[in-house]
């Protein structure tokens, strides 16, 4: 029943709804809502109908299926621009894999100040920021607009997501590689 309710709400809204909002409206627990949403995502994928349920961060949205993109684009009259500059794409990639991520973490990975690029992505609606009370700073996530851009059900479907999502995992993989190299050194200075 909860699944049916959520399906209705996502249809009516048309826009993304957060798990929190869905909990309020259905008067169900967070874990229940979350599970029901995940089942919906799966069910819509398996159906191969004209629609999909997409996940981005903590919210879900009902959207047209990528297979009917042309028709949907004509009808929605929405301009979709695939043009992203290299720095924008780099930043988006890190936010997609690492989100929720802080600006400091982003800058640590890219090695450059990201204020203006972030502002640009926020304005384009590809990234959104929320204040994280525990970290006492803003954390960034990709939006539904970005997921819609990819045509995936959720960012977790990105290649190598598990490896690149978690910093510790990534460090471990990189360190293991370093150790392997050290066991078999190729030392040539200039």
């Amino acid at each position: 029943m909860l699944q049916r309710k959520i399906e209705t709400l996502l249809f009516l809204a048309g826009r993304p709804l957060t798990v929190k909002k869905l909990c309020e409206l259905t008067e169900a627990k967070k874990t229940e809502v979350h599970d029901a949403c995940e089942l919906l995502v799966k069910a819509y994928e398996d159906r191969k109908g004209g629609l999909l349920i997409q996940k981005a961060g903590d919210s879900y949205q009902m959207v047209s299926h990528p297979d009917v993109r042309k028709l949907a684009q004509t009808y929605a009259k929405e301009e979709v621009s695939g043009e992203l500059t290299k720095p924008s794409l780099e930043t988006l990639t890190i936010v997609a894999y690492r989100g929720p991520v802080t600006k400091a973490e982003l800058e640590q990975i890219r090695g450059v100040n990201c204020s203006l690029i972030l502002r640009n992505l926020l304005i384009r609606g590809l990234v959104e920021g929320t204040f994280d009370k525990t970290k006492a700073t803003t954390v960034y996530d990709v939006t539904h607009d970005f997921v819609r851009f990819l045509g995936l059900a959720e960012v977790e479907e990105l290649p190598d997501y598990v490896k690149l999502h978690d910093h510790e995992t990534l460090l471990k993989i990189l360190n293991d590689n370093v150790q392997a190299e050290e066991a078999n050194p190729e030392t040539t200075v200039d």
Binding site: F11, L12, G14, M62, R69, L92, R110, V112, R148, G151
Partner: protein, 237 residues
């Protein structure tokens, strides 16, 4: 002399990675040391680096100098092993995401876009529903708040410049790391230094003079036209 051929680069790590890959080397402290001079030359040649990124390029330049000096002059027993390892790790992580971004570009290129509905389904009727407690006084406050939020963004280039200057402190820290232990060794090393190490040696030499407080160094453009002025005040004991 090795010719640097770098078409365009988006940031300091991007440049560094391109140089290493051009040499067909793996990411390591050795390969980073190997391309340090090329990195500095590429930086010197690029006059279009935006002001807000110059500071970031300088940070990496300083780290590279540290790594290079550790490898070339092991007798100096320069510290900073941790910082060197950190840059190596940072570059490897950057490379992972750079490759991932190419994957994302491919997905976008397939243009499997999806679309949502701009407005709620028709069952919902438009209805005038104002925010009950909103007053014109609150609106004025809100608007002033918006203006306050904009101020730092307009001021951004200025803060970036201040940051660039603060890199001097970063280099100062490295100077301390290297020179505190190495002043004497340097004077002997300098005489025999040939072109391969010219850049690092002159850099370090200048830092040494700065350390002795006999000169003041000013630099208008990165690694160009370093002007050295003798200070009138006597050196400290």
């Amino acid at each position: 002399m090795h010719q640097v051929k770098i078409s365009s680069f988006e940031g300091p790590l991007d440049l560094l990675l391109q140089l290493i890959e051009q040499e067909e080397m793996d990411i390591s402290q050795i390969s980073m040391a190997h391309v340090t001079e090329q990195y500095l030359r590429a930086l010197e040649a690029a006059d279009d680096i935006p002001a807000d990124e110059l500071a970031d390029f300088l940070v990496i330049a300083a780290k590279l100098l540290l790594i290079k000096s550790r490898i070339l002059l092991p007798q100096l027993q320069v510290e900073g092993a941790e910082e060197a390892t950190e840059l190596e790790r940072q570059l490897k992580i950057f490379k992972e995401y750079l490759e991932a971004s190419r994957g994302i570009a491919k997905i976008i290129h397939k243009r499997r876009f999806t679309f949502g509905r701009g407005k709620p389904a028709m069952v919902i009727e438009e209805e005038f529903s104002p925010p009950k407690s909103l007053t014109v006084a609150t609106m004025r406050e809100l608007f002033l708040g918006v203006l306050r939020d904009i101020e730092p963004i307009i001021a951004l280039p200025k803060t970036v410049m201040e940051r660039t200057v603060s890199i001097a402190e970063k280099i100062e820290a490295i100077r301390a790391l290297i020179l505190d232990q190495a002043i004497i060794s340097f004077q002997s090393v300098m005489g025999s230094a040939k072109s391969r190490t010219d850049v690092i040696i002159s850099f370090l030499a200048v830092l040494e003079l700065v350390k002795q407080r006999t000169v003041m160094v000013t630099q208008n453009v990165l690694f160009q036209d370093i002007s050295i002025k003798r200070l009138d005040t006597p050196p400290e004991a």
